[in-house]
Symmetry: C2
Amino acid sequence: MRVLNNYISADCVIFGFDFEQLNVLLVDRTLRNDETGEVEFEDLTLTGNHIYEDETVDEAANRILYDLTGLQNIYLEQFKTFAHPDRLKKPNDRKWLLHDGRDPDKRIVSIGYFALLATQDVTLEWKGRNVKWVPVHEIGELAFDHNLILQRALIELRNKIKHEPIGFELLPEKFTLSQLQKLYEIILDTEFDKRNFRKKVARMKYLIPLDEKQTGVAHKPARLYMFSREVYEKTKKELFDFWV
Amino acid sequence: MRVLNNYISADCVIFGFDFEQLNVLLVDRTLRNDETGEVEFEDLTLTGNHIYEDETVDEAANRILYDLTGLQNIYLEQFKTFAHPDRLKKPNDRKWLLHDGRDPDKRIVSIGYFALLATQDVTLEWKGRNVKWVPVHEIGELAFDHNLILQRALIELRNKIKHEPIGFELLPEKFTLSQLQKLYEIILDTEFDKRNFRKKVARMKYLIPLDEKQTGVAHKPARLYMFSREVYEKTKKELFDFWV
């Protein structure tokens, strides 16, 4: 039988883009009174779990992701570890851990990952787990130190997206240029001039125009594009951008 | 009395530049037979320690750094956490842990940090610890998974130095342009044309030429420069370098 390590966990910030908003996959946490069955509190947590003694943390993070989305080979990156002495000390968190037979005074390390995917690729009914997409701007107070973990993940995502073409991981395989522009505007909280954006895009050899157009849209269907990692790796230049 | 947490440690890859090489600060680990006093083995480890139950991991990393170098306010960054099930399982590591009264089968999480400093700022005699600088290219097999931790730290350093002006942390406050060029050449394992490098440097408003020259050198003394973080923050542009 596999044994869970009770002081190491992996928490995943699963980002999903739906062409309108950047969302995070959150899990419902409801504590009910054992005797009356009444709800004591209900809130939300990031997706996470303790690691098994025989698995690596990367394996644990992939397992959590698969468990909740049914997807494999998703973009997943370890970004920071959280181990503040007070991270489990809020009253509801203590109640939750005690109810679960765990010691809230024991230090638990949480190794933070973020994952990137297109919400349309996920079926939330998978395994009937109580999860939902919540737009980043509508997320209230989360359990434990999960607001802090989310905040750090957002900083990492915004930073990394400026240097590496990871934005494509948040889009389906085929996408329009408007969808691409919207994605970068949402994540970087900015607006790009459409003409300038198209000019930049025209120089990207790794963005492959397809002989295919959108279907099922009310407006004039736009051309679809694909990202080619192979072309990107071949043509990328090593830049030193702070040298400017 | 402060209690150490025995399953969470912070390991620091302390990089030091001496104008010729990139070095790492390593600690001697010698295991002697309790009865005969004979050396059973001797090798090197990264600098690290377990965290105290009442401190954050950042505080632990700063404490380790201060303990070994006497320096505070050093550039220090958490970059990755290591928790592979087999990371403590090499025969010498098991011996060492058992001799130290610790259980080698217990999972220990190591939270990796890297620090950047100029070797000339450090007095190794501080507290009489058994530490030494070893050039990166001369480092052999280290204890535990410390070669892996070092390798990852190098990748992070090389990646980050392309996007942010962290190289200056490896130089003393005042430096020459030749020293700056050498630093980037060593870290990125490349060579820059001197004239092109000077042209780039001339465009960097945050590199402040001083009315001061080198002293005590055999060749014609070169002008000294300083890095101004204030000017950098004011003049930096948000670039999207993969867009090229």
